[in-house]
Symmetry: C2
Subunit: 370 residues, 2 copies
Amino acid sequence: MVKDIKVAIIGVGGVGKAFVSQLYNYIEKNASTVSISVVYIGRSSSALISTDYSPLRLTPFVAEEVDKTGTDPLSIPDLIKFLKASGSETILVDNTSSIELANTYPDILSAGIHIATPNKKGFSSEEKLWNDIFAASGNNGGKGGYVFHEATVGAGLPVLSTIRDLVDTGDEITKVEGVFSGTMSFLFNEFAPVVGSESPKAFSDVVKVAKDAGYTEPDPRDDLNGLDVARKLTILARLSGLSIASPTSFPVESLIPKPLESVATPKEFMDGLPTYDSDMGLISNEARGEGKVIRFVGSIDVPSKAVKVGLEKFEYSHPIAGLKGSDNIIAFYTKRYGDRALIIQGAGAGAEVTAMGVLSDVIKIIARIK
Amino acid sequence: MVKDIKVAIIGVGGVGKAFVSQLYNYIEKNASTVSISVVYIGRSSSALISTDYSPLRLTPFVAEEVDKTGTDPLSIPDLIKFLKASGSETILVDNTSSIELANTYPDILSAGIHIATPNKKGFSSEEKLWNDIFAASGNNGGKGGYVFHEATVGAGLPVLSTIRDLVDTGDEITKVEGVFSGTMSFLFNEFAPVVGSESPKAFSDVVKVAKDAGYTEPDPRDDLNGLDVARKLTILARLSGLSIASPTSFPVESLIPKPLESVATPKEFMDGLPTYDSDMGLISNEARGEGKVIRFVGSIDVPSKAVKVGLEKFEYSHPIAGLKGSDNIIAFYTKRYGDRALIIQGAGAGAEVTAMGVLSDVIKIIARIK
């Protein structure tokens, strides 16, 4: 029997567009075993709604069409009612970064609707929300929908599935360490490379190159404040069994010079940054003196419950020092794996690989429902 | 509702014993959501059979008890009948390396029994067996049992799940490259280290150290012939979409000197090996002259359909050159990930991590059945 699944998608930015395109290919290729209909595509101001649950035309998908031909988006309670009334198994794909939407996950899951999402907010905010989400879900044998969020850490890299496999099979995670931000990876791989370090660059120049290439948020302070990494560490620490109140409940080093925290515009920030190049140069040179380079890392020491985010020094031969481009690297130390870490490395950002993480979650949900 | 699952286990060697211990812990921890009963534990000469399907006592599990208190093992047709008559969903865990057992997978799966196994034989032998197994299985939407074999490559490392996620979400794998044998990894990390190479070791000495430490098969030729790596490459190439007739249908370099292939005992082989140290020394020195080290790797170039196993040279800064201990490393190059590989690295052998790979498959099967 061909399974019948209805999908609602919220958010059609870069990741959302890549996801729709990948999902369409998946639907075509697997039509003989599963029937997937996209019945809702929403963005903040408008939505395409298939009121009779016939599949919305997906290709060629032009996100702007949602605005042109769409109607008002449904409220979440109305979206839940709409999906439940389909009589099918339903999956909501949240491709936004909205905390408001994440706050409604417990209601969505309680209604039996499954969720796949790269949105970190639901899993890295107050601990109550995390608890409410998983209590409402069917992940641990309950009656609610399944919730999968692989792409919240490392995009398409198999980070969360690996940590879940380790924990589920009874291994004990002792330490997690890595570079969790493609932006931070690029900045320090360029600023403090292991080789070719003869003529050191100014940190502000590297930030400018990254900003101009689109590797940073429009305001680079949204990367440099470390909060994105702190959110990912919150998720990993919780999956490792630690209780984490919020992403600001452990030490997070901001790379924004104090006086530039409050300047109004990204331009003012960028203009002011060169003033502080000597500070970062000093830190890097001190590391060089010890035969090391600096990297912006996150680490979780499970036995001591110590979670932290910030600059650390690494010897040239360390895998974290040898990182290239904007790659992420995540090292899991566990009881079974002993001294030698289980390491996952590769692109941890980008629309295509993030969408891939979301689609693989959708596929896993489909495999679990009949 | 608590799911009711019956499990049959064949093979109680190192991996089998570790698996039973991990499974028992899992059963205890998850008793509120799933009821798992081990109803059959078999080895070649004897078996414990719970004829009324009540759970066999698992702890403390002493493998020798199977021989002491067991009866004759069931034939596979009788085991299928026994499991089907339970009326429950059933999983067969094959912890052997038997081709005879693997040959019966299509029958087992056709009967609706699921399989989890670290046994490479079913997936790396003649292509017909591979095709028969997956045609009989429920993996691709059919009616048969699910078959999962994560631990056939890289033990507990998430290698096969990753390649499946890449393929399922529509990525195109262009190249797979890596060190797939813990034994080969140890031999060359010791014989041709990136650092500390001042006083080169004799290859035969390194093999002796590995053999004495139990890192090789009782007859080291079973590692040095490259067939174990060839079997893993066969599995990865098939998952990457290539048609591979058998593990001997592509070039595999054997490190066994020709005249020692036919000597009768491991001792004669070890005694003869030092004669050929200069050959291996020459190959290593030539690489050194180019600023490289030699490693025993497998690679799959998907567009040209070229699969090969053997010695290759790598620059000191290459992740494969920097490997330590007996770690495996697997690099996936894909269309989405571009020039930068998705890399998975860590212990790829050992009873505990292999058993973990098998148990995580069992957990995934349970999640898919109701």
